[in-house]
């Protein structure tokens, strides 16, 4: 099984071809020009991850507060996590780094505030 991806590590943007086993295990990569590309290709084809950032309404305030996942989460969970966030409300005050939602969808990753709100 082959998969083509674009490397995001630098502006060169190498087009890489990754060979995977039928079970989806990484076998090899071609087209990369540096080891960073190979590492990215392996990760991206086996367990792609993304940071999610969003804003959440604050009770009694007109403007929302920005939040993020404390670390990257599996890419396939992006929409589920966004839906989860859509019903979250918080109250001021909030401090940057404060946990807004623990262990979102059992990923082991917390949603944390990215700004202060007095």
């Amino acid at each position: 099984m082959e998969q083509t991806i674009t490397c995001i590590n630098c502006p060169v943007g190498c087009r890489m071809t990754v060979t995977l086993s039928e079970q989806g295990a990484f076998i090899s990569v071609t087209g990369n020009t540096c080891p960073r590309g190979a590492k990215y290709a392996q990760q991206e084809c086996t367990l792609p991850e993304r940071m999610i950032t969003a804003v959440i309404p604050v009770t009694g305030r007109e403007t929302p507060i920005s939040v993020k996942t404390a670390s990257p989460v599996p890419k396939k969970l992006i929409y589920d996590i966004m839906n989860e966030l859509s019903s979250v409300r918080i109250s001021a005050p909030v401090t940057i780094g404060q946990v807004i939602l623990q262990d979102v969808l059992h990923t082991g990753v917390d949603i944390i505030a990215t700004r202060n709100l007095a």
Binding site: I8, T63, I96
Partner: protein, 417 residues
């Protein structure tokens, strides 16, 4: 009239202004004031809630608000005086600044040195001369970003994005995640000016098609936007008849370039560069008006805030040195744009500078496996090879002070080979 004196006055408390202020204070300036027109410091970073900021400077990936908070906290620790909700109306060449706010009324401030850090604005529809109706639903990408991230409102449901600059790409993802359908991202050039990472993570991840060498040729809708017509363009960027694609959308976001906001610089008589639309500066980021400095996106549009901060630390320190009369006075070396290079900053270097000088410029096209060359007449000063130079990524070469000694001419040229 409320009138006062300060040593260093900084206009703008975005990443550039904050860095300049921190650096001026750390260089020993006690009498320091920052003026900010918004209610809070942080500038455009306040609405850039995505991550990816600070890799160079902090060696970690921060969101915009987190990056800004580090400088805001540092400025607070250094007890830097930031007046928010204050708009500067004029700056004159004698360093007199008039500004207004609801709380303090009209103030006149005399500064020994001024740092211009007003940032930039987005190119609006008018500048593109896109024909069609003038309905609701057409926003610059940054305005939409403000609505979504700061005000908590969605500007529309079905979206076409014109221009593939980073803000447009970021908004493609943001609108999608928030429940809108992004139909297309349309780019008039044959390449995107956005980062690869954003093409992949903002478009590919969500199956949003990118139409290169295409543009919007008609806008339809009497009240709210009802659709746009997109067409392929030829090498001269003229639409090719017969290639039209109709999109049924209620929102058009424009991400077609940023323009340094230099109205105040002009009021001070600062000379601007046609290539950058920002001030002409020397290696200390001092403009053609002595004692007025410029840094950040008001000087030239950056793609990484880390570079903005870096440049602004230098500008702030230079403003402090100016106040202390520690200025250099040696003859100027002119920096010229050569083949494949646009808008090199700084445009002037004093030959007795004792610090390395970063020459920042934009490649005018995509160059693969080539080199950036800095030369003075026949004499090659620097040759820096790279696998790629692209207009989307500002390039940088560093000149060491010793390279500037005994040059055969009074100008150097930066080009891509």
């Amino acid at each position: 009239m409320n009138e006062r004196n300060v040593d260093v006055l900084i206009i703008g408390a975005g990443p550039a202004g904050l860095a300049a202020a921190i650096s001026a204070r750390e260089s020993g300036i006690e009498s320091l004031l920052v003026l900010e027109r918004e209610k809070e410091s942080g500038g455009i970073l306040r609405q850039c809630i995505h991550n990816g900021f600070g890799l160079h400077r902090f060696k970690e990936e921060l969101t915009g608000p987190e990056y800004a908070q580090r400088d805001i906290d540092k400025a607070a620790e250094l007890e830097i005086d930031i007046e928010c909700s204050t708009t500067v109306l004029t700056v004159s060449s004698d360093h007199t600044v008039t500004c207004v706010s609801a709380s303090k009324g009209l103030q006149i401030i005399h500064a020994k040195a001024i740092v211009l850090a007003m940032g930039c604005r987005e190119r609006p529809r008018g500048a593109l001369c896109t024909p069609g109706t003038r309905c609701a639903g057409i926003y610059s990408a940054g305005t939409a970003q403000r609505f979504v991230n700061l005000e908590g409102f969605m500007p529309g449901k079905r979206v076409v994005i014109l221009g593939s600059g980073d803000i447009g790409l970021i908004m493609a993802r943001r609108m999608t995640l928030q429940g809108a359908k992004v139909l297309a991202c349309v780019e008039i050039m044959p390449y995107s000016s956005g980062l690869n990472r954003n093409i992949v993570q903002c478009l590919h991840d969500y199956d949003i098609p990118l139409y290169l060498s295409h543009t919007v040729i008609d806008i339809k809708g009497k009240e709210r936007l009802e659709g746009v017509t997109v067409a392929k363009v030829d090498e001269k960027r003229n639409p090719i008849p017969g290639t039209e694609i109709e999109f049924d959308c209620d929102t058009l976001l424009l991400s077609c370039g940023l323009i340094p906001e230099n109205e105040l610089s002009l009021s001070a008589g600062v000379e601007l560069s046609p290539a950058t639309s920002g001030a002409v500066v020397n290696e200390s980021f001092e403009t053609s008006v002595p004692g007025i400095f410029a840094c950040g996106n008001v000087l030239h549009v950056h793609d990484l805030v880390d570079h903005v901060s870096n440049e602004s630390f230098k500008a702030g320190a230079a403003a402090a040195a100016y106040v202390r009369n520690e200025q250099l006075a040696a003859p100027m070396i002119t920096v010229k744009d050569g083949n494949g290079v646009r808008g090199t900053v700084p445009q002037l270097i004093r030959s007795d500078t004792d610090k390395p000088v970063d020459l920042m410029f934009r490649p005018s096209a995509v160059f693969r496996n080539s080199a950036a060359v800095v030369e003075c007449g026949e004499k090659e000063l620097i040759r820096k090879k790279a696998m790629i130079f692209t207009p989307g990524e500002m390039a940088l070469v560093t000149i060491k002070p010793e390279m500037l000694k005994e040059l055969p001419a009074d100008s150097i040229t930066v080009r891509i080979e």
